[in-house]
């Protein structure tokens, strides 16, 4: 029981977050002057997962590392790199974990098939209902 309580307490535990004494990177909280480029960067940042506040995108997170990643994304977009290439570069380092964009990998198949399966089950239930009513 005590062990379980300690384990449960771990769930509420916060990682030891310390912040550095350096200001945020230049492009962390600054928009690119070209609105088209900024839109591209913003769209990509919303699909990249923060390594610190896992579950937030780097566009949403206040973590310093997320700021440094926004800086990286904006710099590379401004240098003419394609968003897909920047994402691939990060996936090479952190795995698909870093990207929120769903992929067609095997583990994601239930996710793609679930809506179709639910539609089929729903149709079957409705058919049964209609038949049942007709029978009574």
């Amino acid at each position: 029981m005590r062990r379980l309580l300690i384990l449960l307490a771990l769930v509420a535990a916060q990682p030891l977050l310390a912040d550095s004494n350096l200001p945020p990177a230049y492009w962390a909280n600054r928009q690119l002057p070209d609105p088209k480029e900024e839109a591209k960067a913003q769209a990509l940042m919303e699909e990249l997962r923060c390594l610190v506040c896992q579950g937030q995108s780097i566009a949403d997170s206040d973590a310093e590392l997320a700021g440094d990643m926004r800086d990286l994304v904006r710099r590379r977009i401004a240098a003419g790199e394609k968003p897909g290439d920047i994402r691939a570069w990060l996936v090479q380092r952190y795995g698909t974990w870093i990207s929120y964009k769903p992929t067609a990998e095997l583990a994601a198949w239930p996710l793609w098939l679930a809506p179709i399966a639910l539609l089929i089950i729903g149709a079957w239930l409705i058919r049964r209902r209609i038949k049942l009513k007709a029978g009574s």
């Binding site: 310390a18 912040d19 550095s20 990177a25 590392l65 440094d68 990286l72 380092r93 952190y94 974990w97």
Partner: protein, 182 residues
């Protein structure tokens, strides 16, 4: 016929309840055994990406990827003066240095003065230290926090990534990994 269908719908009536129970049990299980939040680098087993870093402290040379393929395995330690677990890790790194392990440091988001003070206070196990003020090299290594350590073999290939501080109890494992990287 109609009766049979009625009985079936009765047993079906409990299906949502069973489903709910299943979901609650799954949630309790996950709460009791939380998954690891570590994000391992995918570069383990691959060559170090190319990087050069600015000098972190005036008294030490900086470190670049080219410097790391020395023919002997070494440790690249990602640390910061503002990182609390790094303080206790330095003592373990000192011990590893005493056993002949070559250690280089990458100081993340740090100021030269703060690094000098950190090393003076806690000890200095580093041969070279590079400064990574915007975490760019840290990100290029697939590292997600401080402290983290990479064991790099003589050819510059990352052989092992250690997430979190190297504790006293990790020393034999680290020495074994270094031996394997030979």
């Amino acid at each position: 016929m109609a009766e049979e269908k009625l009985r079936m719908s009765r047993s079906l009536r409990f299906a949502p309840l069973a489903l709910l129970l299943l979901i609650v049990l799954a949630l309790i299980w996950r709460l009791a055994t939380p998954t690891s939040t570590n994000v391992p680098s995918k570069l383990e087993g691959k060559a170090l990406p190319n990087f050069t870093l600015a000098e972190a402290v005036p008294s030490k040379p900086t470190v670049s990827a080219a410097d790391l393929a020395t023919g002997e395995p070494r440790i690249v330690n990602i640390f910061a003066s503002w990182c609390v677990p790094c303080v206790s890790e330095v003592k373990v790194l000192q011990e590893l240095k005493g056993r002949g392990v070559a250690i280089d440091g990458i100081a993340v988001r740090d100021k030269p003065q703060d690094i000098v003070e950190f090393l003076a206070r806690n000890g200095d196990p580093y041969e070279r230290i590079g400064s990574d003020p915007q975490s760019q090299v840290q990100i290029s290594l697939g590292s997600s926090g401080v402290p983290e350590s990479f064991i790099v073999d003589g050819k510059g290939v990352i052989r092992y990534q250690h997430i979190g501080p190297i504790e006293q109890s990790d020393v034999p494992m680290i020495l074994a990994k270094l031996e394997q990287a030979r």
